[in-house]
């Protein structure tokens, strides 16, 4: 193991581990981050939600976006699976239907980064506690 000789060495270790700890840091203050929920019930998984989720997680890590990806149960939009709900801090949640790899990337590049809406938004017809 290399010895730590300075504050910079310390910072280097911190950077290496930070990504591993990122999920924990963000979960500790959920209100400050964009919350992305992927519906991962049987119907969602069958429609390809797992790939969507992996894409989202990789993209977020790559672009260093302040967001947390969570999986949830069935949201009830089985006709439009895979579905992804995005809640920006202080904003109402928006649900996107029929999300595939491409659309997942577009959600991040457009809606999350610039606020531009995409096609395929499902009107939210419920309230969560």
């Amino acid at each position: 193991m290399n010895k730590i000789k300075s504050l910079n060495d310390l910072r280097k270790i911190k950077q290496d581990v930070e990504q591993k700890m990122d999920l924990r840091e963000k979960s500790d203050n959920p209100d400050r981050y964009v919350q992305i929920k992927v519906a991962m019930a049987t119907c969602g998984i069958a429609a390809g939600a797992r790939e969507v989720m992996n894409t989202l997680i990789e993209k977020i890590a790559q672009d260093k976006i302040d967001a947390v990806v969570t999986q949830t149960g069935c949201m009830g939009y089985c006709h439009a699976e895979p579905t992804v709900e995005v809640r920006k801090p202080g904003a109402e949640p928006v649900v996107f239907g029929h999300v595939d790899r491409e659309k997942a990337l577009a959600i991040i590049d457009k809606y999350i980064k610039t606020g531009e809406l995409l096609e395929g938004i499902i009107p939210v017809n419920y309230q969560t506690a």
């Binding site: 193991m1 730590i4 000789k5 930070e18 990504q19 999920l23 519906a39 991962m40 149960g73």
Partner: protein, 601 residues
């Protein structure tokens, strides 16, 4: 690099481990592999979450799902439902004791909402056996900052300005302590961490050492730089094996990284730490007794002065700090003394960790800002009294503290306020009592402890406490007189004034505070030979309620002395002269017809 989508944090503290949390970890990992999810979710063994009442705890991130009372057999279901399908396992969620509703995540739990975690910042968050995770949380950055930017005097000044006071019970200003030790000249000085946690029911020091051992190492090294010491010693009780193991691992890791040893972080500062094991004597938490014990002598206190800062371990200047005090140090340097001083009350800054215990719903470890009221701690964080009973008293400060009542509930908790109302902060034990607790018996319990733990060196403590205990025993047996109560008070005052060390000077506190706050209860014991709480067995009475008794004769059959008489289908009667108060009848009665009355029959 594979990114985990979920982190499963499992408590690896002593409490949860005794309920098989190690096996839970194994089973979780096994189930993840079985489902091919080992690259999706990571299982991490952390320190204590503080919610020990309902351990073992498994916390799932990123959604902060908080599973309580998890059994090893539940692991497969958590993986199959939550990790794979994203459905929470409802039956394992924490239930709000008042509303009886499942709470989805820890951010919505009353237990955590009012807490501010400084000393416990990494407990239940990082893997304590992994130094990299500590570094990722800015670990050792405070040490680097101090070494690179500050002179020892400047560094001491930061702690002075922060207003940090000793968390072990004394409440002495930490910065001042460092300054005194720093000014004394010697060829060798020592930094000692007091991990001899002895208060019954207090376990914050253990939890910090188990959950975040590096914070103590870092703080001791900073202290060494400030006072000019190159050697650190941790005095820890041998009955904390897990804390010892984690500390040893942490010291080894810090040495490998060069964070302990010569020329730390390229500076001139050198520092290393050794462990010293205590045999678990309460008096060794007193700093002079602790030092004698470390030297291989009897664990007995000596008169101060000389203070350890002048002549301590091996007669060299020694600075002794408690674990929780040290855990605050790195955070103060990183976030600034202004930040720390902005939390708390005028004379007590920052937070305090309390171990909640007794008749309270959420037993566990909490960290709250100074100045919070007892009511907030007991009823909001603690979730109120168990089984809907009535609050009677709260005992703060361990065996050296006092019992506070309803009228003190809105007192803001800090060092000075607690002293003013006849109790003390102590190390932060907080034992809640309900209507079923007899205060004379409570005082007797604490005296039993201090009599047992007195080192015997000074007469007031050795003999005086023994006499106090005998008087209390007499009263609980119904043989006490009003003169005995007077005697209790006089003796208590004398012991307080004349005992050698903190143990004896504070041991009569439970007696004095219960005498002040529950005088009626003492009088009932001596005047009426009656215990209003029904706790003192010798004074207990059982009564059959004639309107509820159906005359089933079940009680007459279990009564070993034939004290219950009555015809079938007619109300029975207990002969108090024959009754030996065994309580067999009350257990047998199916109609709640037998009671322990709160007034004398």
């Amino acid at each position: 690099m594979a990114q985990y989508k979920m982190h499963l944090l499992v408590c690896g503290g002593t409490g949860c481990r005794s309920s098989e949390s190690d096996l839970i970890i194994e089973n979780l990992q096994h189930s993840l592999r079985e489902k091919g999810l080992e690259n999706d979710a990571q299982v991490i063994k952390t320190g204590c979450f503080g919610f020990c009442e309902q351990g073992p705890i498994v916390k799932v991130l990123p959604d902060n799902t908080f599973y309580t009372g998890v059994k090893p057999a539940d692991a497969a279901e958590i993986v199959a439902e939550h990790v794979l399908k994203g459905r929470k396992v409802e039956r394992l969620l924490y239930k709000d004791p008042e509303k009886q509703m499942a709470v989805s995540d820890s951010k919505h739990m009353g237990f955590y909402r009012k807490q501010i975690r400084i000393a416990l910042r990494n407990c239940g968050f990082i893997d304590p056996e992994n130094i990299d995770e500590y570094i990722a949380r800015d670990g050792y950055a405070a040490l680097a900052k101090v070494l690179e930017e500050m002179s020892p005097e400047q560094a001491i000044d930061v702690i002075k300005q922060s207003g940090l006071r000793g968390r072990g019970g004394g409440g002495f200003p930490t910065g001042l302590k460092w300054e005194i030790a720093g000014k004394n000249k010697a060829d060798q000085k020592y930094v000692v961490c007091n991990a001899d946690e002895g208060d019954p029911g207090a376990f914050m020091d253990r939890s910090i050492l188990e959950g975040d051992p590096h914070s103590i190492i870092e703080a001791m090294s900073i202290c060494g730089y400030c006072i000019g010491a190159t050697k650190g010693l941790v005095y820890i009780r041998a009955e904390y094996p897990l804390a010892i193991k984690r500390l040893q691992i942490a010291i080894e890791q810090a040495r490998n990284y060069g964070l302990l040893g010569e020329n730390i972080l390229g500076s001139k500062h050198s520092f290393d730490i050794e462990l010293r094991y205590g045999a678990g004597a309460f008096v060794c938490g007193e700093e002079t007794a602790l030092i004698h014990s470390m030297e291989g002598k009897r664990g007995e206190p000596t008169v101060k002065p000389p203070f350890p800062a002048e002549s301590g371990y091996l007669e060299k200047p020694t600075n002794v700090n408690n674990v929780e005090t040290l855990a605050n140090i790195p955070a103060i340097y990183l976030r600034g003394h202004e930040w720390f001083a902005s939390i708390g009350t005028a004379k007590s800054k920052g937070t305090k960790v309390f171990a909640l215990a007794g008749k309270i719903n959420n037993v566990g470890l909490i960290e709250v800002p100074m100045g919070i009221t007892l009511r907030e701690v007991i009823f909001e964080i603690g979730g109120g009294i168990k089984d809907g009973k009535k609050f009677k008293a709260v005992q703060t400060g361990g065996p050296s503290g006092g019992c506070l009542t309803e009228k003190h509930l809105d007192t803001p908790i800090d060092f000075d306020n607690l002293l003013a109302v006849g109790s003390m902060m102590g190390s932060g034990g907080m034992i809640v009592m309900d209507e079923d607790d007899c205060m004379v018996a409570v005082a007797k319990f604490y005296l039993e402890f201090t009599v047992e733990e007195s080192c015997g060196k000074c007469a007031p403590c050795r003999i005086g406490n023994k006499r106090l205990h005998e008087l209390l025993d007499k009263i609980t047996l119904g043989k006490g007189t009003e003169e005995d109560i007077e005697q209790l008070r006089n003796l208590s005052v004398v012991i307080k004034d004349t005992a050698l060390c903190g143990l004896g000077q504070t041991s009569p506190n439970p007696v004095l505070s219960t005498l002040d706050n529950f005088a009626d209860e003492y009088l009932a014991h001596v005047r009426d030979q009656h215990c209003p709480a029904g706790q003192c067995k010798a004074l207990r009475q059982y009564l059959i309620l004639a309107d509820k008794c159906v005359g089933c004769t079940a009680c007459t059959k279990v009564c070993p002395t034939g004290a219950i008489a009555g015809e079938k289908r007619q109300a029975h009667l207990i002969d108090q002269a024959k009754c030996i108060r065994c309580g067999a009848c009350i257990e047998k009665c199916k109609f709640s017809a037998i009671i322990i009355p709160s007034t004398k029959i």
